[in-house]
Symmetry: C2
Subunit: 63 residues, 2 copies
């Protein structure tokens, strides 16, 4: 399975926000994440970068 | 391997832009894609949605 883990970067801190993310939908207010288990989260954040082979999505807060 | 294919959606058209994308880095001007083969592309586009388990990244053009 090719889900990824989503991390929120704040300054020098990196916090795991959600494991096993399947779908990601950004909009102007933030980003929706849904895991393979059906867990849903909306964050006031945007994608900073993704490394799919490493299963990692890095988010940063929207100001 | 958990790379994904990137597609550009324009109206009712969906065009394959890059296969086997590993890293994705959005910025305010567009989005950088790098494949597992080292191919690089920069597009004036943003992420509309991603379905990682299906290995799909959907992009749409920035106005």
């Amino acid at each position: 399975m090719c889900e990824a883990n989503a991390y929120l970067i704040e300054g020098s801190e990196t916090q795991l926000i959600m494991e096993s993310v399947d779908t990601v939908e950004p909009d102007e207010n933030g980003i929706s994440l849904v895991s393979i288990f059906g867990e849903q989260k909306f964050l006031k954040a945007r994608i900073r970068s993704m490394a799919l082979v490493d299963h990692k999505i890095y988010l940063e807060k929207l100001e």
